[in-house]
Symmetry: C2
């Protein structure tokens, strides 16, 4: 059986990715990157989800991006609420964390090299988050190319693959795929402003996208909301 | 004047890179990544060197790679001494930190994006460290390509450049270039096993390469050695 490193954030997308990697027969090593996000209850959800979905281990690596700032998710900029994902709004949302996916994939790459894993899985999605440049298919392809130049496995071995199986799925598709694979979405936390118990605000962009996903899939929203 | 993020490790190579970036007229923001290296006196040297060479600020970002292991520089594997850089030895040395340059450049990329800097400088060198896959020119070119796909600056702006001005220099060339630019090498720490005061062991690969550089350049070695 082959090993994979799966980036698990605690949100719904990466939970589905972990379930997909397991279905494909991988021994899964789940990785969370603690980058100073406000919503630390996501990390608790990541540990829970990894265990329930059969990862052989879950590791959290600290990367302190607070000191470089630049995002509503790591510093004092307010997370927007009730923005209705305004198509006339800024092209790249203020919740964009500079280079986040590059950094998280880099750490996953380092761990994959140590483990001897040839596959990296991540939950990036080009449909719902098209405002984030590092969620586009060409970004993933460029990272895979880099990974194969950067590492022993790429240079001496059989090569590395970066898999982003949700890339072209809608949020409703992701909900359906997760339900097919037995993912318990009530265990996941997507909210940018979740409280310490992981209860969602219901008003930030992440909450709205998630709620719209359940509605579009025609299933009950199991999210635990505040109040 | 244009801003640049310069990766500064505390060693001699990145000190020379910082001096080069300053000579080219950049406002320099120095960045060190604390990845759990044993030789923390390097980080003190990085702060010192950044100040002396005119960086407008120096920041250290913590990325805890100890938890993923896999290198003599972050875990319990012994750093080799008196190995004479054996050409029959392993192609990739045990001091290779998995994905280190990818991770450090990723963090630099995030900070560059926050600062509005279009240039990243790093001290990678393809000559002396040819055993490290992430020191090769094709790696740097691939990272630059990734950077331009991953960020606002790449997508909406004028693009990012990753500059590795030492890439094709010998250690003697680096010594001469540093002396031309007024770098005080006694302030820098290259040793993998430096003590708390930054004094070098004189026996690890980094010490040997450095000493050979001074010898080949025909200048006195200002390194402070233990004992």
């Amino acid at each position: 059986m082959k090993k994979a490193v799966v980036l698990v954030s605690g949100g719904m997308d990466s939970a589905v990715v972990l379930a997909i990697a397991r279905e494909q027969g991988f021994i899964t090593h789940a990785l969370s990157v603690a980058y100073g996000q406000r919503h630390t209850s996501e990390l608790a959800a990541a540990a829970r989800v990894s265990k329930v979905l059969g990862a052989v281990q879950h590791k959290t690596v600290d990367v302190d991006l607070r000191s470089i700032g630049g995002s509503a998710l790591t510093d004092d900029i307010d997370v927007p609420v009730d923005s209705h994902l305004n198509p006339d709004g800024p092209a790249i949302p203020v919740t964009y964390v500079p280079a986040r996916n590059t950094i998280m994939l880099s750490v996953a790459l380092g761990w994959a090299e140590v483990l001897g894993a040839a596959d990296l899985f991540c939950g990036v999605n080009a449909v719902d988050y098209s405002g984030y440049p590092d969620c586009r298919p060409e970004f993933i392809a460029a990272f895979e190319r880099l990974a194969n130049l950067a590492t022993k496995a790429g240079v001496e071995g059989a090569g590395l693959r970066v898999q982003a199986p949700l890339q072209q799925m809608s949020k409703a598709d992701i909900v359906r795929e997760g339900l097919r694979l037995g993912v318990d979405f009530s265990q996941t936390v997507s909210c940018y402003r979740a409280d310490a118990e992981g209860r969602a605000c219901g008003h930030c962009d992440a909450c709205r996208l998630r709620a719209e996903g359940f509605a579009a899939a025609g299933v009950d929203d199991p999210t635990r909301y505040v109040g």
